[in-house]
Symmetry: C2
Subunit: 407 residues, 2 copies
Amino acid sequence: MKQIQGGITAAKGFQAAGVEAAIKYRNRKDMALIYSEVPCVAAGTFTTNVVKAAPVLWDQRIVKESPYVQAVVVNSGIANACTGKEGLDCCAAESRCAGEQLGIPETSILVASTGVIGMQIPVDRITEGIRKLAAAKSDTPEAGTDAAKAIMTTDTVEKQIAVTFEIDGKTVTLGGMCKGSGMIHPNMCTMLGFLTTDVKISGRMLQKALSADVVDSFNMISVDGDTSTNDTLLILANGLAGNEEIVSEGKNYDAFCEALRFVTTYLARKMAGDGEGATALFETKVIGAASKEDARTLAKSVICSSLTKAAIFGHDANWGRILCALGYSGVPFEPENVDLWFQSVSGRIHIYGNGVACDYSEEEATKILSDSEVTVLVDMHMGEQEATAWGCDLSYDYVKINADYRS
Amino acid sequence: MKQIQGGITAAKGFQAAGVEAAIKYRNRKDMALIYSEVPCVAAGTFTTNVVKAAPVLWDQRIVKESPYVQAVVVNSGIANACTGKEGLDCCAAESRCAGEQLGIPETSILVASTGVIGMQIPVDRITEGIRKLAAAKSDTPEAGTDAAKAIMTTDTVEKQIAVTFEIDGKTVTLGGMCKGSGMIHPNMCTMLGFLTTDVKISGRMLQKALSADVVDSFNMISVDGDTSTNDTLLILANGLAGNEEIVSEGKNYDAFCEALRFVTTYLARKMAGDGEGATALFETKVIGAASKEDARTLAKSVICSSLTKAAIFGHDANWGRILCALGYSGVPFEPENVDLWFQSVSGRIHIYGNGVACDYSEEEATKILSDSEVTVLVDMHMGEQEATAWGCDLSYDYVKINADYRS
């Protein structure tokens, strides 16, 4: 497997575009298109929030019922959530317009939205945007970047990646993009993430790979503990790599899953590190847990702790808060048996063991905690299972961004 | 029932003190004593965190095994959590010293600590503090206030209350104090809370009343979602009111529970409203829920949402975040059937119904959200059950306080 330049246009036969449609923002790209020159199998995972945005309800039906998918239309600015029948009518209008403009069936079109909850999307603007997208679409890396920028809300950078790997001697490409960066506590999926690949794979195996993957990638990140109404992760596979179709488990499926994990972990980490107001990526790795589920629960409890996140922002080695967060996670353990370390590119220090603080240097701890990626390593000494979760620090800017997000 | 001046010294036979012991803080009171002139029955509820501070482990045993309790020694500054055997030895030294100084058995003494996790308490200072407390103790309201001030950490005001009510024609008094104000997400109990009463009641009925009460009082508040290692709520009842002993359910028990609920709700609200960095008390009342447990879960999910808390800080009527938080609470419901209102002393507005935003005035919403106590009223239209939860807004100061709490 090899990382290459580009994102969602890297795989054969995929085009993209990003344009200004003034849905809510002014003077920036706010609509994106992903288009495949040939029909794709598609898979998706969606928010588990009871309150599901209209595009989530729409896409769940398309992914389940449509014979194939060929395009995705995305807008930022307005989430089309809590918008009742008018919101679903907007999805229908988008599909109809995109079908006409792209010359493909409207049942082959997925839609996604992100932004403010409760506002209605101006349908005339979104259909005008779709016309622009259809005209602008291209298979260049720049077109992929335009799309990655257009889906941003409070993100500070676009997030995209592409890799190639081999199946049956054929080069397969997988690319993706996603956006954060608040209301991030994915459950079954992330905010908005889009993956494109030219692998040939059955829809059933594609969904299986995606559903298995998110458990340890996007579901292991949190910015603020709020599970969005719009969480959507979609993958389109158009088969143009020419490999023998993957229809069951085996080494080809494994190779695809490995590439998928690499791409989703990269995007998930980027999303966590670019969380609203974040100054650092905060990673917690739990090893020696009794079960995989315990490891995930413990790791996620630490990266979700507001107090720990504030301490990371302050470069303060307040490890008691980490032990506290492990303690209220719901996983039973003996505090005396746990070991804690802080680590970063600057080094690694043992901070807690045998039930008490280790004799570490506060100066060294502060140095480690001042890096842009900080890891807490936790050894539970209860078994062989491990998991990693990613979050960010809690800063003044998180409050600033969210105290008046709508204006 | 009547609210009166005072706190933990209001009930007959109770004395208190607050002194400077320089446990960690300088130039402020940091140790408190509660003392009853006669033996008391005691009940307690404690943190469910797997990581329990030494005083929690100590008190759980005393409450369960000791025939009676007569004093409580509390310090702020250091939590005596994650302190291993040395931490438990400190509890033993405190009990021994307090027993000698007060002339009561060391098994009749409870201890509690709050502050930084992981540091050891200097035993010489805490025993010196106990000597000062024993000399200073008094039954005046001022002594109660001294104690309430001494247990504060990041609290901005002391929190105390007292009420009187009648049982068998006898006047019974119940007083209490508590402290917050970070790492507040009590589970089975709050941070530190102390109640004193002269009611005559069996230990079994006292524990029953306390355990039933916290479910809808202290367990319904949250400042930051972090369940502390030190959560402790203790109640001492010395029987000096002279009522016939309450040994079973009935109207006398109900009268006591009603007073208890009044006092604990008052203290819980105070704690939420004085959460770290808070500028407003944020209350969520859920009505029309299918079950009591659903109502509690829904209400708590809203007051715990970082995004909603930040919006309250910004006086921004971002009701979508409230619906989102209800949606990920785990309780199933149809979003179209929910009604939401904002209310405060300034008025009440309907903001969401029939699946979409109501036609409300943003100006009026901002006015309501600018008050120091803001309520979200949620009608689920699914049944008759209701619950209320209390939190606070998320401000810059929460981050400031917690980015470098230890220094």
